[in-house]
């Protein structure tokens, strides 16, 4: 094992290299540019390819081409760039081409600013492009997870032939923490049953997202939904912090979860039984574990997020209104503070 002090954005590229990612295609945007810079420094040195694309649309379509050959490939961006990639994400999903996309969220809408926010939740978790598709979404909360979840994203992308997002924010990208390095590197295999890579074995294959025949298109859509149901059964992931005896469960991902953890400790010090439920996957949303908390006697939930209740909607859907779901949030690039979260927890405790 080896540990090194590493920046979150760098950890993404470290994860990608050890996961056997062959190529990186990106376009500069703060606060995700450092990932592009790191790729430019490190990918060619390991024989991997990196292209600074002319736009995010071009970048995601380069990913489409590289992914269609069955090799591991990725791109990274932030809000405005992710919006532009959505057409490509829909095509990737329609053609079931595996790909990894890292979103280092910034404040929006529009140009917004480069401060940390979590306002891309809907466009990433719900899918911002056209059609009945889903993305698998992983939500890291530390530099370690920036690396580990990027590695895992490649595995999941290939396993399910899906687009996998690593959804992080500007704080996680900028911060430095010790990183335990991957213990192995991966030399991925090409799945020649569907890939098209300019070889004799894959010559009969076609990568496409069109079915002119409505019934065929419907059958394909149904197949996709079956796949998503299997993903929902297999891939939900979350972490509990002081949840065993909690009355009030804070639900938070990414940097908000780190801050909410402090609020849990502060609330406990005041005798309020609070806990933190941290989704590590946002799609599939870890609703089974959350429902178990409610079934066990959890009385109230607080969605702690740096967005306008986008995640709260998913929490409500998950618990089907069996308990109240409050919102503690900040917007516009402002980090939510421990005390702001604590104030919400106190308010909830009074209602109980």
């Amino acid at each position: 094992m080896a540990t090194q002090l590493v920046k979150g954005n760098t950890a993404v590229i470290i994860g990608a290299l050890y996961a056997g990612c062959d190529s990186f295609f990106g376009y500069p945007i703060t606060p995700a540019s450092e990932i592009l810079h790191e790729a430019a420094k490190k990918f060619p040195a390991a024989g991997r390819r990196m292209v600074q694309a002319e736009s995010e649309e071009a970048a995601i379509n380069m990913v489409f081409g590289a992914g269609a050959t069955g090799r591991r490939t990725m791109t990274a961006s932030s809000g405005p760039g992710i919006s532009l990639k959505q057409e490509g994400v829909s095509y990737l999903s329609g053609a079931q081409v595996p790909a990894v996309i890292v979103d280092i969220m910034r404040a929006g809408p529009g140009l917004g600013n480069i401060g940390p926010e979590q306002g891309d939740y809907n466009q990433v978790v719900k899918g911002g492009g056209h059609g009945n598709y889903r993305n698998l979404v992983l939500a890291p909360a530390s530099v370690q997870e920036m690396c580990d979840f990027t590695r895992k994203a490649f595995e999941l992308a290939q396993k399910w032939r899906m687009v996998v997002f690593v959804l992080a924010d500007g704080v996680l990208g900028q911060m430095i923490e010790p990183l335990r390095f991957p213990e192995a590197s991966v030399a991925p295999e090409t799945d020649t049953s569907w890939a098209v890579d300019g070889t004799a074995v894959t010559r009969p294959n076609v990568v496409t997202s069109i079915f002119l025949n409505f019934d065929q298109q419907e059958a394909f859509n149904r197949q996709l939904q079956e796949k998503y149901a299997a993903v929902e059964a297999a891939e939900q992931d979350s972490e509990d912090y002081r949840m065993e005896d909690a009355d009030i469960g804070l639900v938070a991902y990414g940097i908000s979860a780190r801050i909410a953890q402090g609020a849990v400790d502060a609330a406990r010090a005041e005798g309020i039984r609070a806990g933190l439920f941290r989704p590590k996957t946002l799609y599939p949303f870890p609703k089974d574990a959350l429902n178990a908390f409610v079934a066990k006697g959890g009385k109230q939930l607080v969605s702690v997020e740096m967005s306008n209740g986008q995640m709260r909607d998913d929490i409500k859907l998950a618990v089907e209104c069996r308990c109240p779901v409050h919102l503690a949030n900040r917007l516009g690039g402002n980090l939510i503070t421990r005390d702001e979260v604590l104030a919400k927890v106190r308010e909830a405790a009074k209602k109980a």
């Binding site: 050890y18 380069m62 600013n113 300019g198 294959n205 953890q261 421990r338």
Partner: protein, 473 residues
């Protein structure tokens, strides 16, 4: 009646098309897409390239090119073929990539991708069908529509004052340095057909040899949308289109061009470990020690005062000593006005919030940050500041120390290293429980590669540490 094409390089029947007539194409009668397919297919077969080839079907009438080409096939979004081709070619060095695109696709929505891929000299053969209209969507104006030509969206004829002039793609691309081969061809008589066949072959030979970008513009009509019979369509091409778009080879550098080889991925762990300097920059894994106190440090000052790297050195030290640690720089609006700050949290267990709201220790290098953050120091906490700031009314209940950081740095031989002087004082007074030797290691790693800088900073650190040890804040 649908058009039948049978030739080498194309499938014998077209099961992907479905329906009953599996030997007929989906193209309209009289349309020359079939001729172009045939010429490409024959060339691929003759050059023995089918196993290596990936044909990209665009959005447009040729969206179903993958019904026909007996090669690997990929269908892509409207206008994005050149970017997709880039992704394929960069990933698979030996792949022969063919992009088959219409004028709406290539010259309108995909113009950026088209020019940029050409400019990068991607290894792609582009077959560009210029038929002056959008065929598939029902005959709207294209960038290539002739002046005065009537389409659904230029019912009075293309008016250059409204819609500009026909876009000459071959000429536009010939402004770029990287492309190896650029030609414009038509099928309007036998001689021109022969030239077209040669151009198509040439473009594919260039791909066979991995030499780079080749662009072949093919003039044809769209009999259906232009409401012409076959003869009229051929006359339209030879009399009107060729007058606007002269045929010929605009460039052929296939002789000089060298084979372009893309790198092969190296997946070995040793390679990656070396690349990431794990041999020289390596800390032990953090050790769980819940009894250890968690210390939050805030460091702030002007942009040039090195507060961010001061924090990184402290974090490096903690990491090298097997602590859990986080470093987080302020970013966003706080960064404006030339001030910078960062928070470092050192702990015996995984760090919760990396954002320091209440500090056990504040290091302030300038007055604005001293005034801004002094109130955030916890009761009993430590506040050390740059003595150059001068008089300062310290908050009650906080241990305060003015550090002559600049003097210490100067004495140590590195006047710019006030930040390292502060690290030395922190080592003495911060209460982090980190061994002095580990600070020195962290300084060496931080400035690694610059021997003299390492020496100077070590000297400043040591001097400041000794000075600090004598103070009682």
């Amino acid at each position: 009646m649908e058009k039948v094409i049978q030739t080498r390089g194309l499938y014998k029947t077209f099961p992907r098309k479905g329906g009953s007539a599996q030997t007929a194409t989906h193209y309209c009668p009289g349309c020359e897409h079939g001729v172009l397919h045939k010429l490409i297919g024959e060339a691929l077969a003759d050059l023995g390239l089918q196993d290596r080839t990936v044909v990209i079907s665009p959005v447009g009438c040729s969206v179903f090119a993958y019904y026909y080409f007996d090669t690997g096939n990929i269908q892509v979004a409207h206008g994005r073929a050149a970017a997709v081709g880039t992704g394929i070619s960069r990933t698979k060095n030996d792949a022969v990539v063919i992009s088959y695109q219409g004028d709406g696709d290539l010259a309108s929505i995909g113009l950026n991708e088209t020019l940029q891929a050409a400019n990068r000299g991607e290894k792609i053969a582009v077959f560009f069908v210029n038929n002056t209209v959008y065929g598939m969507t029902g005959g709207q104006m294209a960038p290539t529509t002739l002046v005065g030509e009537k389409t659904e969206t230029s019912p009075e004829g293309r008016d250059p004052l409204q819609a500009g002039y026909p876009l000459h793609m071959a000429e536009l691309i010939s402004q770029l340095k990287a492309p190896v081969y650029i030609a414009r061809v038509s099928f309007s008589n036998m001689a021109k057909l022969r030239q077209a066949r040669q151009a198509i072959r040439k473009a594919l030979e260039i791909q066979r040899d991995g030499k780079g970008y080749a662009f072949v513009e093919v003039l044809m009509a769209c009999p259906t949308n232009q409401k012409m019979n076959v003869e009229a369509a051929i006359r339209f091409v030879s009399e009107q289109m060729e007058a606007e778009y002269p045929l010929g080879v605009l460039r052929d550098r296939s002789g000089e061009a060298k084979t372009l080889v893309r790198a092969e991925s190296d997946y070995r762990k040793e390679t990656l470990d070396r690349l990431l300097h794990l041999d020289t920059d390596r800390a032990p894994d953090a050790k769980l020690d819940p009894s250890a106190r968690t210390v939050s440090v805030k460091m702030a000052g002007f942009g040039g005062q090195g507060v961010l790297s001061m924090g990184v050195i402290l974090a490096r030290t903690a990491c090298a000593a097997g602590k859990f640690v986080s470093w987080y720089p302020s970013y966003g609006p706080e960064q404006r006005g030339g001030t910078a700050n960062c928070g470092v949290v050192i702990s015996g267990q995984p760090v919760g919030s990396p954002v320091v709201a209440e500090a056990d220790v504040l290091v302030a290098m300038n007055r604005p940050s001293l005034e801004k953050f002094a109130g955030e120091v916890k009761p009993g906490g430590l506040l050390i500041y740059n003595a150059a700031i001068g008089e300062f009314a310290a908050p009650a209940g906080v241990r305060v120390l003015a550090v002559p950081a600049q003097e210490l740095a100067k004495q140590g031989g590195s006047p710019r290293a006030s930040n390292t002087a502060m690290v030395g004082v922190l080592a003495a007074l911060g209460g982090f429980g980190l061994p002095d030797a580990v600070y020195r290691e962290a300084i060496a790693t931080h400035f690694s590669g610059k021997e003299s800088v390492v020496k100077q900073n070590e000297a400043v650190f040591e001097l400041a540490r000794q000075w600090g040890a004598k103070q009682k804040p």
